[in-house]
Symmetry: C2
Subunit: 388 residues, 2 copies
């Protein structure tokens, strides 16, 4: 198994791209990665697409071949990987294994999702397909409602947690999105604004939820030993580890300490041979602010029930102990579901290159990205390190 | 990169399983593979699911985690791979790379599809998602209709090809299905019956098409060096190679010699270091009888326009030069789309173990399976060899 580097990244602004077909967004992000990586597009020998909802939103499966063709990649190996909202990082994981194992010398991973041009009811049902159709969704739960159950239980168990502390997560996200030209919501908010926003599924409020949005992000992977051929600033993949949990929440041991988050993080730290204190920033999956807290706690960066307090105390801002959501996270950069995991990796690479501008995490050497499918059902944790 | 062996296989009968949920079929086939492979199910460290239509037929995405949970695989790495009707072999390909690269020591691949419990119109639209939604399907073509265009052009270009020669492919399939207890149609047919069956999309007749059907098949992969721990009859994966073509037919150089079939076959033969004459049988993708002819011709086993004549002359029966569809193929074993590629590999393994009973290909040492997504858009060619 050989070391693998990210040698090119590309992204388009997350937005409501009513007018842009799925494949066109994928091509746009991919070509930006090709230019950034200084590669000859003809040298790409593997394309892995991360996408969740193509069948639902675009009446289109078979995105591997579809996007390969649109990119002009002649007869290339291509397919789609799907793990609900974790599809992006799951696609990254398989491409990483292909390069590490010697099956590919230049792999393109593109995450893409087009949600806004489908009917709202279709999207609600589509996102619910991440949960257990027979045991959960048929009984009336939406995906949002399942997350609301988590928040309710969380507030019940940890009685000293305050709503205004949990509301800091979206505040951090929006603050960091201001300087990210690819973010959907480039304006700051404050705790009062979050707390005054209406419930969308009590006790989750509108400003605690990531938006339905469209976007595409892409990365190019190559063997680390030849990465310098393409770029002066390769970023090395130290780990990309997947774990799953029981898909229906009722079956879990403790839904507030999701096992998939814990196991995926532990596997990744072990594979990367680093400790939590070595992680300079953490791109986590804040689809809802409760998920930000659970990710920090189950990943071992905060004691159970303590992440909101730490957020309120400033630990997760750019100048804090562990910056999170450094480019806006799902809440403010946006959450085009199957693309999100790739956006997280693109943003991590930009941080590790030192190219994050006003959002640069000082001296960032090692970053962690965590993409989640379902209610912490499939979790992919990626650890990246600045190359020498 | 290390050698990888198939150490266990499992399948359920392809049929109209109205009463069986998708996950239940996947579990059934997987447990059969676990028993066949003599493994402790807890040792499985990777699950890759091949499925095309879960969102359409079962309102269910996220099948990796869903099936992992149903199998009791605690916190296992899991996701779904999709390449339309080629999803099964694409899933196999990614699991193969994971084991070869040292990321997995015991991987389970399960292909599963539940088609019959969806509305017929949904299935027609679902299968059309394998083609180009914007350039082909929106204009009224069904997937069947696109294949009918191929047959029409084929009969036009190769004027000496007779309908009764092409009709031999389904005859071979049905003859071989009689002894396969897992096949959907276990009865023989003859050329007259094919030619008297009604057109479903002229010039394709009903008995030239694979049925809408349900099923699941599974294989277990392990490093070849430890395969003997599990089984006396490991089967070695010599190659699993993917190629794609332009998804919309109008863009191709020659739609009767699909480049993805040619390139995938050539890559596989090269990787496996074998020649066509070394292949003892060929499990090809006869979704329509025209596809059987195109597969043989583009793969280089027959001259363009000559495969139907060779079929009529007996070349592809079990006792012919190159047996095909040895357990019934898509036409008679059935074609649960995302499972088909795994069925082909299961059947190939049974042949190479010498366990094919009345359908045994004498002295079978090397077999080839070819799974196709779309109209020869994504093609995965797998070459398997009997272990020592």
């Amino acid at each position: 198994m050989r070391d693998v580097a990210v040698i090119g990244v590309g992204q388009i602004q997350v937005s409501e791209h009513w007018e842009r077909p799925l494949r066109e967004m994928a091509v746009d992000a991919s070509l930006r990665a090709v230019i950034d990586g200084n590669v000859d597009i003809k040298d790409i020998d593997l394309l892995v697409v991360g996408n969740m909802l193509g069948e639902v939103t675009d009446t289109q499966a078979h995105l591997g071949a579809l996007i390969a063709e649109a990119l002009g990649l002649k007869n290339v190996e291509a397919y789609r990987v799907e793990a609900a909202c974790g599809s992006g990082a799951a696609a990254f994981r398989t491409a990483y294994m292909a390069v590490a194992g010697g099956f590919s010398d230049l792999a393109l991973v593109v995450g893409v999702e087009q949600q806004t041009n489908a009917f709202f009811t279709d999207i609600t049902l589509g996102l619910a397909m991440a949960a257990d159709g027979e045991y959960e969704i048929l009984h009336g739960a939406s995906f949002l409602a399942l997350n609301a159950l988590l928040k309710r239980l969380y507030m019940e168990r940890y009685k000293d947690v305050k709503e205004e502390e949990l509301a800091v997560f979206p505040v951090i996200a929006h603050e960091n999105a201001v300087n990210n030209m690819y973010a959907m919501y480039r304006f700051p908010i404050n705790v009062e604004k979050v707390l005054r926003s209406p419930y969308v599924a009590e006790p989750i409020r509108l400003f605690e939820t990531a938006p339905i949005s469209d976007g595409a992000a892409a990365v190019l992977l190559a063997p680390a030993e030849i990465a310098k051929k393409y770029t002066d600033t390769p970023v090395i993949i130290k780990a990309s580890e997947v774990a799953t949990d029981k898909i229906y929440l009722a079956g879990r041991e403790d839904i507030l300490l999701p096992a998939a988050i814990r196991v995926s993080t532990e596997k990744a730290l072990k594979r990367a041979k680093v400790e939590r204190k070595d992680i300079d920033f953490f791109e986590l999956h804040d689809a809802y602010s409760i998920m930000a807290a659970l990710s920090l706690e189950a990943s071992g960066f905060a004691e159970p029930g303590k992440a909101p307090k730490m957020a309120a105390d400033g630990a997760y801002y750019l100048n804090g102990d562990l910056p999170i959501l450094t480019m806006g996270g799902l809440k403010a950069r946006g959450h085009p579901v199957g693309a999100t995991g790739v956006y997280q990796i693109v943003e991590s690479v930009i941080q590790l290159r030192g190219d994050a501008g006003k959002n640069q995490v000082d001296g960032a050497e090692i970053g962690m990205a965590q993409n989640v499918g379902g209610v912490a059902t499939t979790v992919i944790t990626t650890i990246l390190k600045r190359g020498d």
